[in-house]
Amino acid sequence: MPKTISVTGNLAAAYAAKTANPAVIAAYPITPQTEIVEKMADFVESGELKAEYVRVESEHSAMAACIGASALGLRTFTATSSHGLALMHEMLHWAGRARLPVVMPVVNRALGPPWNIWVDHTDSMATRDTGWIQFYAANNQEVYDTVLELFRLCEDPEVVLPGMVCLDAFILSHTSTAIVVYDHDEISGFLPAYQPGHWKLDPDDPMANGNIAGPEYYYELSYAIHEGFEAARKLIPIIEQDFYKRFGRRHGGFINAYRCNDAEVILLAMGTMGEEAQLAVEHLRDQGVAAGSARLRVFRPFPVKEVQALAAKAKAFVVVDRSLSYGHAGAAATEIRSALYRGTHHIPVLGFVAGLGGRDVRYTDMITMIQAGFKAADKGEAGADQFYGLKR
């Protein structure tokens, strides 16, 4: 029977992992993810989850252990954040290139120095190139549902790629709301057992992964990873539709668009900012302003066509980034502009960086940003990126 429980975002991730029934968990704690791995340990200790829990001394080892486990054909789960994600960076590349479907919640937290434990998307944005599928959640139920969908997506024989679901530090990780959770049996139709077809470590059938491959081989193998992402692109809506059919919930596919059909200016954001943006839109719509908001849920594979379609009838985009790639711009703004430029309908994209290191971003701020977007639309150009809320 599905149960409604009050849980933090961290516990939502842990309960989802339990529902998915992984065979191996290898993880290391870091604020604000710690509750996830502690809860997984509780589940294993109590026998509620029959899994091997590997205690490691660092996140690099955690991912290395996950790689080993996944290479044996076992469903594998871990979680991290910020500096932990940074520490396992080398291993992230390995998991992607070895085509190992490890699923990992990442609690988005700022990198230091200075030491900062609050929300910031730079940690996961810095791993865009590692061959991991990336989702961003805006509420605890979405965290739970996305973990389950990720296992199904990542383990699909056409995909076999690792995947992360990102959740905002404290805003989701430590915030309690009610969510619906299931037992493994209730979802096993949606998520059958993992069957590795591509390769597996097996003493009875010895093979090696990771041997040297010179210029005559590497390029095609690299392209094969790109093909895996394209396979994921096709599967994402199919899996969401199946989840919706079985459990009655969906979260918007690649982009959760709100009142965009007749919007002149659309604000795009990720994570919880993307959900709160809807309140800004409602406030402006009440005043007769044709605003809309869109929340990017999937960042890898990047939804190029969906972004282009969103721009088709709009006059300007406003992109709010909770990350900053020094020397250029926020990650989402950069990739959205790139997607639009590849199409034929080029509209101004006004970029805001906001909320770094956990500074609060409210719907009232987003109202101001959208209004600036209307000015950009009138001028026909966005001008320089702006740093919202910077105290100078």
Partner: protein
């Protein structure tokens, strides 16, 4: 129903964060939407602690901080000395204080809808003490139910019952009775 936002102020060990969570559970029992979060800071006994709760009839899409709460719950009277404790309140805000004083005796006349209850006394009478600190969270929830009506006292008591399910029966009943006593003894002027 408009979104009801509450800020809890306590000291580490008084159960402020758990109190906020139990309030969320009470809202869940009434099929309301809720959101409960602590302000992550000094995690030790005695240090000032802040927790937040939102309750509404619609799914809650706001995720930023609470700036103008409809209610402020103060689990420890000594915290009134901190200026930020009354930040964002106006004459319509419920300020519910754990104190033996009457509302008019606090320096908040005309500035808020003040309600007081001697939750510490209730806790001491009932023996709800942990490590020398009177844990007043469940008691103050009874006060919140009475002052604001945001949840019923019955939901509060059920939330305590379910939240403390792993504890001895005596602890559960003691806390439930203490919450009821705060509900009954709350002074609103």
């Amino acid at each position: 129903m408009h979104l009801f936002e509450i800020r809890f102020h306590g000291r580490g060990g008084q159960g402020g964060v758990t109190g906020a969570k139990l309030l969320g559970n009470a809202a869940m029992l009434e099929k309301k939407h809720f959101q409960v979060f602590p302000h992550y800071g000094a995690e030790r006994r005695g240090a000032p602690v802040v927790a937040f709760a939102r309750i509404g009839d619609e799914p809650i899409r706001v995720h930023s901080y609470i700036y103008q709460p409809q209610a402020v719950v103060i689990l420890d009277e000594t915290l009134l000395e901190i200026p930020s404790i009354t930040e964002g309140i106006d004459e319509n805000t419920y300020v519910i204080v754990n104190t033996p004083k009457r509302p008019s005796e606090l320096n908040l006349k005309g500035k808020a809808k003040v309600a007081t209850v001697d939750a510490t006394k209730i806790a001491l009478d009932a023996g709800i003490l942990v490590g020398g600190i009177a844990v007043v969270n469940t008691i103050m929830l009874g006060a919140v139910a009475r002052a604001t009506g945001i949840v019923s006292i019955e939901s509060v008591k059920r939330a305590i019952q379910e939240g403390f399910a792993d504890m001895p029966e005596k602890v559960v009943t003691t806390n439930i009775q203490a919450a009821q006593r705060a509900y009954d003894e709350l002074i609103m002027e």
